[in-house]
């Protein structure tokens, strides 16, 4: 099949590649760019394991064609750490609050939470739960993911994080 040239900015670097028109963005990211942190869990936009940040929006890269991302600015989980290489507030929150187990949903979850906190820097528990409803987790039951996002929000806002009592 004839290939199309695409260029985009991924995690701050200009990238380019030749893709088929039908090549999914997730496959371009994982296979052409070898950024394997973005995962595939369902291929039908339900699970959110493939979530990336595209031009300031959370999108599920399993149902976006690579050609549709031409010229866009993308951040994947590999672009989430602080500039000095330390864990970001969200990454640290997930570790501190035991917000992950098998780790398969985690990249999508963190990328989504990153955008959620940009949209709403101080979300309530209900807003967090609604805000991550496009991302499925089979291991944690979400309770500690909610705490992880609250932890990160507090850290980013410079407020004190208080873990809710059971």
């Amino acid at each position: 099949m004839a290939k199309t040239h695409v260029t985009m900015r991924v995690n701050g670097s200009e990238v380019e590649g030749l893709v088929e028109p039908r090549t999914l963005l997730v496959h371009f990211i994982r296979e052409n760019l070898a950024l394997t942190g973005t995962h595939i869990g369902c291929e039908t936009t339900h699970c959110g394991a493939c979530t990336v940040d595209l031009d300031g929006m959370s999108v599920k890269s399993c149902t976006v064609f690579a050609v549709q991302a031409e010229g866009s600015e993308i951040t994947t989980i590999e672009g989430m750490a602080n500039a000095d290489g330390t864990l970001s507030a969200l990454q640290e929150g997930f570790r501190q609050m035991h917000g992950l187990q098998c780790g398969f949903c985690t990249p999508g979850m963190i990328v989504r939470a990153h955008r959620l906190l940009k949209e709403n820097p101080n979300p309530s528990e209900e807003e967090i739960r609604f805000g991550i409803a496009g991302n499925l987790c089979r291991c944690t039951g979400y309770q500690n993911i909610v705490k992880a996002i609250q932890y990160a929000a507090a850290k980013i806002n410079g407020t004190e994080f208080r873990e809710a009592a059971e």
């Binding site: 990454q91 098998c102 609604f130 409803a133 291991c139 944690t140 039951g141």
Partner: protein, 805 residues
């Protein structure tokens, strides 16, 4: 040597040993997208394989034409059963003693069965190839309902078994019968029912569902023709078993098979068995001489690899009118689908379902299980449970509520009256198990106190009265579940997989500078073994957990073990760790005695080293002992400090718990709200409370899904109607309730550190709590049992049937 300025508490804290909420070491890579899952592994020249699958649930294959597919750009090969016959792999053995088609041989027996395997340069080309393979089918009558599987005129599904009246587990009564398994004393139980003052009988179904980990099943096979070696990367919960099975069926010497299970994105039982994809990828690699990857998509995962449950349990309890149980009789009709690929220890055709007497002191019981074939996918895996224990717990916990209702007793009171008492442990159950330890009354009473059970019942009575006065349309249910699990398969005397005894293993090697590596026969899929195993070692031998690397999943380096499922890792491998650590410690003690110039018996262990009794300043720490062990061992002693332990447990372990679900249901819409869920777990000694709590949260969420809507459903024509995440219920953060966790600690007396295992308890105990809550809510309207799953629509149907709408 010993820095006396550091307090004992500081030394202890530095170890991050057992009981500490140690943060997970795995998270550093997982939070940065640096995990290494199977689909992340790429090898030079790698090809992709994908399946042509049957649209028919039962059909004869008249022809398969691969010509067009072979002309598709990028397609290199198309394998069919005929090709696999050349290497004697058209069929493969199942874990349950049956055989299963790898690729359809003459006919298909379930929808989405594997028919041909297309190998191409990338996944898109493989998909093009699939669409170009032409298969001609002749549809056959379909058998969906297991209750009609043994009708005289039921369609013959397994033509390969024609004339075989004996299966792997005894006689077969019908062409669609797989086995009958009976346990217990039938005569004594029948007598108990004849004498009973009160009896109940109910057909309790546990519907078909699916473990559905977020990462599907996948593998990458690479055959090196020059060396004659096969390397398999795969999502394997039991890598060594896979290696042995491949050696046995593919006739490749076992030392030339390298099985690597890298990071696994959840398992929940789905990744225990062997699937056609593994065989086809291996054969394709041998045929093409290039690495071949197979990655299941979600629809394939839900429709073809390993369902769970599908048990239909006719349950009877005999009791006195005071509510003392006197007998239990259960008949199970087990729908195994087209092949018996149940992932149970080989001698247990219904797993450990004979734990069905639960937490209660039944003087006698009898159980019979009939397994049947239908036109559905094979499987029968332990979806986050020990083998068939969820089904058993659901059966008895639902039945106890039904009995309470008949007696007009409170279900909590009925349970307290019939619990096995603390002084009865070790307790021998009527169906053959020896329960190791338990304190059920304490756990139950703690639960009732914390939730104010009496207050909740008063509130329920008020709400019911208000409903009957027409003042509210909401009904309230309290769902109690008091489960006893049986985990830790298992003693090799009664547990094996295809003849492989179910021990587990640990090898600990300490390095000269006082750090070390532990290699395991288990394989984490999210349980956090890299974190918790090091904690056991830290406590046992005084090396900080941070200085111990835990490695799993590579069969070339790991000691042989049976893997991770059925909550067996802590009961079996956790014990192996302690035993290996104690061997290391015994040698360390000899070294310390030599260095401190005393007899070994004059030493005592003190957190992270040995001290001469009565002389606190004479101390030698483990870090120093490591250096000495390599560089200056006592005369005549071999250098080095390492040990391996293969642990064959003397018994299973029996975790238990008391759960309560408080639910409100709107009868006009069927919409429910879980107002409160309290889970008290007793898993014996607690290694990492943070991880235990996380396991409980996750297991409860899966239980919630199963009880309230998650189902693999077939229509009457054998079509899967819940084959994607659009229809198969996986709760999001919005639906998922808030979880309250609690615990008691009753150590296992036979386990070296007293731990029992916890990962699956919340799924086992959670499902009956949800279902009992729904049933309890509707009971005052005259119902005794409403089948799961209790989604909004079914709740509304129940309300209509009971005249509430």
């Amino acid at each position: 040597m010993n820095d006396m300025t550091i307090t004992r508490a500081e030394r202890e804290a530095k170890l991050e040993g057992m009981g500490c909420k140690r943060k997970r070491v795995e998270d550093i890579r997982f939070t940065q997208g640096k995990g290494n899952y199977v689909d992340d592994v790429k090898l030079p020249g790698m090809l992709h394989g994908d399946f042509v699958r049957s649209p028919h649930p039962h059909a004869r294959i008249k022809s398969i034409d691969k010509e067009k597919a072979l002309k598709v750009p990028g397609v290199l090969a198309v394998l069919t059963a005929e090709d696999l016959k050349g290497v004697n792999l058209a069929w493969m053995p199942t874990l349950a003693g049956d055989v299963q088609m790898v690729l359809a041989d003459g006919k298909v027996l379930f929808q989405n069965q594997e028919v041909a395997f297309v190998v191409a340069t990338d996944r898109y080309a493989a998909d093009d190839g699939i669409n170009a393979v032409e298969v001609e089918y002749e549809a056959l009558p379909v058998l969906v309902d297991p209750f009609h599987a043994m009708d005289p005129d039921a369609p013959v599904l397994r033509e390969d078994l024609a004339g075989k009246t004996e299966g792997a587990h005894g006689p077969r009564r019908h062409h669609n019968h797989i086995f009958e398994w009976t346990v217990g004393d039938r005569d004594l139980t029948d007598a108990a029912f004849r004498k009973a003052e009160v009896t109940i009988k109910e057909m309790i179904s546990y519907h078909r569902t699916h473990p559905s980990p977020l990462e599907t099943c996948q593998c990458l096979c690479s055959f090196d023709k020059v060396k004659g070696e096969l390397t398999i990367y795969g999502t394997f919960q039991a890598p060594h078993v896979i290696r042995t099975v491949v050696a046995l069926i593919a006739k490749i010497p076992e030392h030339k098979i390298h099985v690597i299970a890298p990071d696994i994105g959840g398992g929940f039982g789905n990744k225990v068995g062997a699937y056609p994809g593994y065989i086809c990828a291996a054969v394709a690699s041998i045929v093409t001489g290039r690495p071949v990857k197979w990655v299941e998509d979600r629809i394939e995962n839900l429709c073809a690899t390993s369902f769970a449950r599908d048990y239909h349990m006719t349950t009877e309890i005999a009791a006195t009118k005071e509510g003392k149980v006197t007998g239990l009789r259960v008949h199970v009709l087990a729908d195994h689908g087209a092949f018996d690929a149940c992932a149970d220890p080989s001698k247990w055709p219904a797993g450990f379902f004979n734990i069905v007497t639960g937490s209660y002191d039944f003087p006698t019981a009898h159980l019979a299980v009939d397994g049947v074939y239908t036109n559905k996918a094979p499987g029968g895996v332990a979806y986050r449970c020990s083998f068939r224990v969820t089904e058993a717990a659901y059966c008895i916990e639902r039945a106890m509520d039904i009995l309470a209702q008949k007696l007009g007793m409170d279900p909590a009171e009925l349970r307290l009256k019939n619990f096995i008492r603390q002084e009865q442990f070790p307790y021998h159950s009527a169906l053959g198990w020896e329960y190791d330890s338990g304190d059920y009354h304490t756990a139950m009473k703690k639960m009732m106190e914390v939730v104010d059970y009496a207050g909740l019942r008063r509130e329920q009575a008020e709400k019911r009265a208000a409903f009957q006065r027409g003042e509210t349309r909401e009904i309230m249910g309290l769902g109690i579940s008091f489960f006893t699990e049986i985990v830790g398969a298992g003693p090799s005397k009664n547990c094996d997989i295809l003849g492989i005894a179910m021990f587990d293993s640990c090898e600990i090697r300490l390095h000269p500078t006082g750090a070390g590596i532990a290699r395991m026969g288990t394989k984490s899929q999210g349980q956090g073994h890299e974190t918790t195993w090091a904690q056991i070692i830290a406590t046992e031998i005084g090396i900080p957990a941070d200085d111990i690397m835990v490695e799993e999943g590579n069969t070339d380096t790991a000691p042989y073990g049976l893997g991770t499922y059925g909550s067996r890792s802590t009961p079996v491998a956790g014990a192996a760790i302690a035993m290996a650590a104690r061997k290391v410690k015994a040698k360390a003690q000899m070294i310390a005695a030599y260095r401190l110039e005393v007899h070994e018996d004059d030493l005592e262990w003190d957190i992270d080293g040995f001290r001469v009794k009565g002389l606190p300043e004479k101390f030698l720490g483990m870090k120093d002992i490591c250096w000495i062990a390599y560089n200056a061992p006592p005369p005549g002693m071999e250098p080095g400090l390492e040990a391996v332990s293969y642990y064959d447990p003397p018994n299973m372990t029996y975790p238990f718990g008391a759960y309560l679900c408080v639910m409100d249901i709107d009868v006009d819409t069927g919409v429910y709200k879980v107002r409160r869920f309290y889970a008290l777990d007793d898993c014996g000694t607690r290694i990492n409370p943070m991880i235990i709590e996380g396991q409980v949260h996750g297991g409860l969420t899966e239980a919630f899904a199963i009880a309230m809507g998650q189902e693999i459903r077939y229509d009457e024509n054998g079509n899967v109607v819940t084959g994607s995440f659009m229809d198969f219920f996986l709760p999001t953060a919005v639906e998922t309730p808030h979880w309250e966790t609690d615990f008691t600690v009753t150590p296992s007396p036979h386990h070296p550190i007293g731990a029992k295992g916890v990962g699956e308890s919340p799924n086992v105990g959670g499902v009956p709590a949800f279902s009992n809550a729904v049933n309890d809510a509707f009971s005052f309207l005259g119902s005794t049992h409403i089948q799961m799953p209790h989604d909004f629509w079914r709740n509304w149907q129940a309300a209509k049937t009971l005249g509430a709408v």
